[in-house]
Amino acid sequence: MNWDAAIPLLVVASSLLPGLVIFTLAEERVYLRTFLNLAGAVIKLGLVVWMIWGVYHQHHYEIRLALLPNLDLVLRAGPLALLFVTLSSLLWLVTTVYAVGYLEGSPHRSRFFGFFSLCVTSTVGVALAGNLITFLLFYELLTLSTYPLVVHRGTEEARRAGRSYLVYTMFGGGLLLLATVWLYTLTGTLEFTPQGFVQQVLATHRPALIVIFALFIAGLGVKAALVPLHGWLPKAMVAPAPVSALLHAVAVVKAGAFGIVRIVYDVFGVEAAAHLGVINPLAWLAAFTILYGSVRALSQNDLKRRLAFSTVSQVSYITLGVAIIGPIASIGGIVHLVHQGLMKITLFFCAGNLAETLGIHKISEMHGVGRRMPWTMTAFTIGAFGMIGAPPVAGFVSKWYLGLGALQAGQGWVVIVLALSSLLNAMYFLPILHAAWFRAPPDHWPAEHDFGHKETAWALLLPPVITAVIAVAVGLLASAPFSPLDWARLIAQREFYQP
């Protein structure tokens, strides 16, 4: 048996099977469930590391399964896929630990962790998809598996958020399906190819291709929270904190952004997209989203809502990087896929900790919280500085490459947008930090839980600390081999330099 081919399948299965088993478990079997979750996560991570090593040594990991005549389900581990898979599996492990701590004692945990595993399964599938139809399949699966997580709390507000989420994503999914089928009828293939596969019909079907591109962006833009399709994201923050982390950093929003990267690089190809004249509007849209999200974030008093609008803004960095023609900006965009994930998941973990430990949901309640929960707030501070783009946190590296790439591509306006965004980021993050560290704490917190002499439970404290450390490490060690930046360089090279 060819093990190289089986590994991508195993990566997908390593969360699917535990997920399916977990569905059947009784509510009170906490240890077995936790064991299954963690075992799946660890195995997945191990397999991913194995694949990274293999791809580095020119192994080829691909598995095909005939779905339709001439159309296969393809799982393939290319460099871009691996970047996203690594991010997802790493953060999944961390989030699982966090979720176990966060949901301790709450109802419907088997259901939650079942869908949780399905969600990651679909994300990994999205990452490894080797053609558009596979991508579509897992992308829709992601929608379906996330919905139960969004409405998990079952309150009226949660259900409203869930409905909003569904309306947006189903609509996006429909557009995506249409675009995919249409493209297939034109080109007869859906296989992701470096530098795209639409060249042969570029001359004959120009208007159609422009519309298809727009449809793709609209379809993926829903999950990637491009304005004006971002409406579901701030509402979805009613979900439990691990779900928010998953939505914002690991799975949903990332899948959308990743899809845009795929569409621009591996379906259309940068050159073709530029030739069609669609790449600049995409850049404008991304830039507008960046500023819009930041401005909206300014006036949010609910911490998670502010973070949600921050995501709207930050994720569009990825789109922006992709939409600026040139290898350097691409590196910035692609690497931000990882960096944003690390920083944002840290922030959401911390927000969850505040809510779980002290009952803090609003920024105006955060005065002096740094003294009560120093580790959590240190992690939060690192994440926030990363978002602002302060060195040496990861966000600095992304911004550096984006700005440099924009200058090289002669798009100076992007630099101004980046500067404004940094400024706005500082304006909505620094007051939080100031309040948390330098204001006097209140006499009593809104709803304090007792964790003895610790600031909170270990399972809640470790994940944000770990992700914050990683966020600093990937920034600080950006030029080290196997760093996200290193991989992003590899990917950009493949897109721009190969014949």
Binding site: V295, R296, L298, S299, N301, K362, I363, S364, R371, P374, F385, I388, G389, A390, P391, P392, F396, V397, K399, W400, G403, L404, L407, Q408, V415, A419, S422, L423, A426, M427, L430, P431, H434, A435, W437, F438, A440, G475, L476, L477, A478, S479, A480, P481, S483
Partner: protein
């Protein structure tokens, strides 16, 4: 001592205080602040010049011990040793552990900025230093210091933004980001005017040159003594050092930019001297402002006449060192006085002097900030930015901690500066 070992010491100099800044560690050690200074003492005594490059760090940063460093290292050791010795007095009534953390982080950032071998390293450590210093300013939980710290942090962010853009321009022109390489590359680059504008705007804001001196005068007036004795050596001297290291001095002529710089420097020098004479107190603060003005006045001269640099160059480090040490020692007595007296480093009436008033009138967003209020430390007025924010969003429920007025003002000054330099530098 081998080169590698010297390199290790070089890194230890920065890493050691960083490590010590972890509360769990420094709270268990005696004299943590003095301990943090040990490696730098060793470095000062080392005869070699050395450099250690770590290619996998950030974009390939490194630290280097260059020839002009002994002066600055000496200043560093003196100032920080004094600060460490006075820490106990400062920390009365404050959370000592937290203050120590900020102290050590600022120290590490300051050292890193000094030793950085390239632009990125400088930027990284300057950021660390800048934000930690903000923490140090606020460590004592004083109302007046809070507003000053806000002004400071706005200046810091705005300055950093400009420097970041400058960094991008430098990276666009040169693959190697070491000082000499960048200077060489920028001298020939077409983006030089913009680069010049960004660097000057950034460092002027950070060094507190007129008209961006608001935060500095406010800091001299309101922050607690420990950060005050560090003001000259930490944010200001490092910004001046950055100006010299980042710009291609001696290689380019930028006459108009130079003249502007000279005018700004002269204004600062003159207004500070006049006020000093009138107030007759606060020698340390006023002299520091004068020195800043003089420095930029002379630096403007080198931009007008590059050949002049040759005569100035040997004196840069001693100049900075003397400024830092003198300011520190002159401000030292204020540490021992009580709060009310300590607040009198500058005369309290200076908020109404002519250039500042002029500026307030000139400000496009005059309404955004009422000058006297800002400087004596009450909340700034309702601001345009806040209004904008409210107009754009349905619910503007909570009050931003950093008043929008400061932002509006800082950004205006900053943009004006950039426009000014960009228009003139070419």
């Amino acid at each position: 001592m081998t080169v590698t070992a010297a390199g290790m010491v070089l890194w230890l100099v920065v890493l050691w205080p960083l490590l010590l800044s972890i509360p769990a560690l420094h709270s268990r050690l005696p004299w943590p602040r003095q301990l943090a200074l040990l490696p730098v003492l060793v470095l000062f005594l080392l005869p070699t010049t050395t450099a250690l490059k770590l290619p996998w760090l950030l974009f390939g940063s490194g630290l280097a011990l260059s020839a002009d460093l002994p002066w600055l290292l000496a200043m560093f050791i003196v100032v920080w040793w004094v600060a460490a010795a006075q820490f106990k007095i400062f920390a009365q009534g404050a959370n000592s552990s937290r203050a120590t953390t900020f102290f050590l982080l600022t120290l590490a950032g300051n050292l890193g900025t000094l030793l950085a071998a390239d632009l990125v390293g400088f930027f990284v450590f300057a950021t660390l230093m800048g934000y930690s210093f903000y923490g140090l300013m606020l460590a004592k939980d004083e109302a007046a210091a809070k507003n000053t710290a806000r002004c400071y942090v706005v200046a810091l962010i705005v300055g950093d933004l400009a420097l970041f853009e400058a960094l991008l321009l430098a990276a666009g022109a040169s693959n190697n980001l070491q000082y000499a390489a960048v200077q060489q590359a920028m001298a020939d680059s077409s983006t030089l005017p913009l680069y010049l504008a960004m660097v000057l705007a950034g460092f002027i804001v950070k060094a507190g040159l007129w008209p961006a001196h608001i935060w500095l005068t406010a800091a001299l007036r309101t922050v607690s003594p420990l950060p005050r004795i560090l003001l000259a050596a930490v944010p200001v001297a490092m910004a001046m050092l950055g100006t010299v290291r980042w710009l291609p001095v001696e290689m380019v002529t930028a006459a108009t930019a130079g003249y502007v710089l000279q005018v700004l420097g002269a204004l600062m020098l003159v207004s500070a001297s006049v006020k000093w004479l009138r107030a007759r107190v606060g020698a340390a603060g006023w002299s520091m402002l004068c020195l800043i003005g003089l420095f930029f006045f002379l630096f403007g001269h080198t931009l007008v006449q590059p050949s002049a640099w040759r005569s100035y160059a040997p004196f840069v480090s001693p100049y900075l060192a003397i400024m830092g040490i003198a300011s520190c020692l002159l401000l030292l007595p204020s540490l021992r006085r009580n709060r009310a007296q300590a607040g009198d480093t500058l005369s309290a009436q200076t908020g109404h002097c002519l250039p500042e008033r002029l500026l307030a009138w000139l400000s496009v967003l005059r309404r955004a900030t009422v000058w006297s209020k800002l400087t004596v430390g009450t909340q700034a007025n309702v601001t345009m930015l806040k209004n904008l924010g409210r107009a754009l969003t349905a619910s503007g429920g909570h009050k931003p901690v950093i008043p929008g007025g400061v932002w509006a003002f800082a950004v205006t000054v900053f943009v004006l500066l950039i426009l000014l330099f960009a228009a003139l530098a070419g």
